[in-house]
């Protein structure tokens, strides 16, 4: 076996360990992204399995962090409970495949095998540009331009704009933006979102500020509505 799988779970459930062992994978449980980085084998991780059933908040933070770590091409399979399927929505960038918990061992191993096969087969870089109208975001370098002019932002402004630009035409409530962009219980509450939206509009400049529309008593929408309003 060339390299190992990282398994984020606390603790690794016995049925998960057994399935991995029976299928012949070598793996190691990790409790945080830091630990995953520290204990990474010389050949690199082969992939990651993230169990969202015991500590969903921690699990998604872990998935987000390894996604963002420099040049990560790691394939991620998440395990979610039946009631958690909704959590997958708008987190498509954080995982490559998922499996329902409790899992059927044969299905789980089949999905894992297919995921690792596709990883081995297509090593090319991910698409790392987001474009909308005159706005271009380079996800690799964190740089953004509007009409060719560089757009300087703080980190959270950048993350918010990136999320919106990746989901144009869709209306998001403040709560959704808070949980998807900030990703944890930020103490400022949803008002933080309003403050950042206002700052982003100011930086986009008068002509482009309307890219982010306020949808009354709902939230915000980036770009044109899908119904053309």
């Amino acid at each position: 076996m060339a390299s190992m799988l990282a398994v984020f779970a606390d603790p690794v459930a016995p049925e998960l360990a057994r399935s991995l062992d029976l299928a012949g994978y070598s793996w190691k449980g990790v409790a945080s992204a830091d630990e995953a980085a520290d204990s990474e084998p010389a050949a690199g991780w082969k992939g990651a399995i993230v169990d969202c059933t015991t500590d969903p908040e921690g699990a998604w933070t872990f998935a987000r962090t390894i996604r963002k770590s420099d040049g990560s091409q790691l394939n991620v399979l998440v395990l979610v409970g039946g009631a958690q399927v909704g959590d997958l929505e708008l987190r498509d960038d954080l995982f490559d495949d998922f499996c329902l918990w409790p899992f059927h061992p044969t299905e789980f191993v089949a999905r894992l095998r297919h995921l690792l096969w596709s990883a081995g087969d297509t090593p090319g870089p991910r698409v790392d540009l987001v474009e909308y109208g005159q706005l271009v975001l380079n996800l690799e370098t964190y740089q953004a331009t509007i009409a060719g002019r560089p757009l300087d932002m703080t980190y959270m402004e950048y993350e918010l704009l990136k999320f919106l630009a990746q989901n144009p035409g869709k209306v998001f409530t403040r709560e959704i933006l808070l949980s998807r962009v900030w990703g944890y219980e930020y103490y400022g509450g949803a008002r933080t979102v309003d403050v950042h939206i206002r700052r982003l509009r100011a930086k986009l400049g008068e002509e482009q500020a309307s890219l982010i529309a306020t949808v009354r008593s709902v939230g915000y929408r980036f770009g044109q509505s899908r119904w053309g309003s």
């Binding site: 300087d152 959270m156 103490y187 403050v195 700052r199 509009r201």
Partner: protein, 448 residues
């Protein structure tokens, strides 16, 4: 949390590389509220983000200690911004720092740490403190020592003057503010000649204190680039209004405005009333911080829309606290406006004391006195005494004496800043007292 911090750092380092930043300015604030800065090269930034940069704090106002004078400046990556007025091709960035002692503890002389601590205490009780300041200032011809300041125009409130040099400066200032993540709500020509007002959108208190520091620098930078002098001096011209920094404040519990109560005739919750009561009870004690110069007290006089009395009202601009009527009864916009501070204060310390005074009112359940809606400037002392309305301190000396008795101010600022501030400001008062003014010469030289 640490993982988030790592991503922040990564973002900062990456931006420095991509944008060709040549110099990173580390900003912090001394006890008197002056912005301090030293620059490092991008190569040192990674180190600085991880471990902080050591520097000698002994020559910074309020930082000096008897023993070791070295302290650490630890950049707060959330405040990293490119500086919009740097030379083309030689980009510069700034980042605000927290000051720590060499063993890593928050440094007791750092005003930003005072605000962090106070905000955290409120947060531990479930509250986020929001502030929006209305900042006034003057534009003058470059000052000549010994001469009266020369306004650029004789315009008045909301005036649109024909050769509106100040209007252009204001426009450019707003553009730069917005580039540095400081959104502006309103801006206009104020009442006095060459006086301007810029109102900022609310943010949490720590962000706003940083923003006020950046604001003062940008206003002065933009003015200086056009050969104009901008000043936040509270009362630069006798006989006309001075410059204040009215602070609109609210407390949020999660997404709810804790100041709002739709059933109350003023739309104010019991919590808002206790907060206001806390401000009124402790107003005199905190005035030395909200109005820290000798000159501040020449603004706090009757007849110029600055508060003199410790009172509140819905629509009475002679009181200390005003409760603005929120547009369309919007619960989110319910707030109170505290009117005595001036823009020469240290925003970190002023915001800390306002929050702590209000929280004290909530914790102790202070009762809010009656609204004072008469024009207090027209009432005599006996009438005011009957209403139980006291005055704000009349001079810096008065304010320092009251502050010295305050357990609240001592606890919020900590022994180090409390003691240093009183000592420094007493010296300022002594220097002022020995000065013989033009007023005295005009009045007494011939007649006595």
């Amino acid at each position: 949390m640490d993982e988030l911090l790592d991503q922040h750092r990564d973002y900062v380092l990456r931006t420095v590389e991509e944008r060709g930043v040549r110099l990173v300015r580390l900003w912090f604030t001394d006890v008197l509220g002056d912005l301090k800065s030293f620059a490092i090269s991008p190569a040192e930034l990674e180190n600085a983000l991880a471990d902080g940069m050591t520097f000698d704090g002994s020559s910074i106002d309020g930082f000096s200690r008897i023993q070791e004078s070295d302290v650490l400046a630890v950049p707060d990556p959330d405040t990293f911004e490119l500086i919009p007025w740097s030379e083309p091709g030689a980009a510069e960035a700034r980042v605000f720092c927290d000051i720590r002692s060499l063993d890593g503890d928050p440094f007791e002389g750092d005003p930003r740490q005072v605000l962090r601590r106070t905000v955290k205490a409120a947060h531990d009780q479930g509250f986020t403190f929001y502030i929006a300041p209305d900042i006034e200032f003057f534009y003058f011809e470059p000052p000549v020592k010994g001469e009266q300041p020369q306004p650029l125009d004789q315009g008045g409130y909301f005036d649109l003057t024909t050769r509106d040099a100040a209007g252009d400066l204001r426009k450019e200032t707003i553009r730069k503010l917005e580039q540095m993540s400081i959104p502006v709500e309103y801006s206009f020509h104020e009442d006095s000649p060459s006086q301007q007002e810029i109102d900022l959108r609310h943010t949490d208190a720590l962000t706003m204190a940083d923003s006020v520091m950046t604001f003062r620098l940008i206003v002065k930078e933009v003015a200086a680039s056009q050969g104009v002098h901008a000043t936040f001096m509270p009362k630069p011209l006798g006989g006309v209004q001075g410059s204040g920094m009215h602070l609109h404040m609210s407390l949020f519990r999660g997404d709810e405005n804790a100041f709002y109560d739709g059933d109350d005739p003023h739309a104010l919750s019991p919590l808002a009333k206790s907060f206001m009561a806390g401000l009124l009870v402790h107003a005199a004690e905190i005035t030395a911080i909200t109005n820290q110069t000798v000159n501040s007290y020449k603004r706090l006089v009757p007849g110029f829309e600055a508060p003199v009395h410790i009172s509140w009202a819905r629509n009475n601009r002679s009181g200390l606290i005003r409760v603005p009527i929120a547009k369309k009864g919007n619960p989110l916009a319910t707030r109170i406006e505290y009117r005595s501070p001036d823009p020469a204060c240290n925003p970190y310390l002023a915001f800390s004391l306002l929050l702590a005074a209000g929280m004290r009112g909530i914790e102790q359940g202070y009762a809010l006195p009656e609204e004072a809606d008469a024009n207090l400037f027209e009432m005599d002392d006996a009438a005011l005494a009957k209403l139980g309305i006291a005055q704000l301190p009349q001079s810096l000396s008065d304010a320092l004496n009251t502050m010295e008795q305050s357990e609240l101010v001592h606890d919020v600022l900590g022994e180090h800043i409390f003691e240093w501030f009183l000592r420094n400001k007493r010296r300022e008062w002594r220097d002022y007292k020995t000065h013989v003014s033009q007023f005295e010469l005009d009045r007494y030289l011939r007649s006595v």
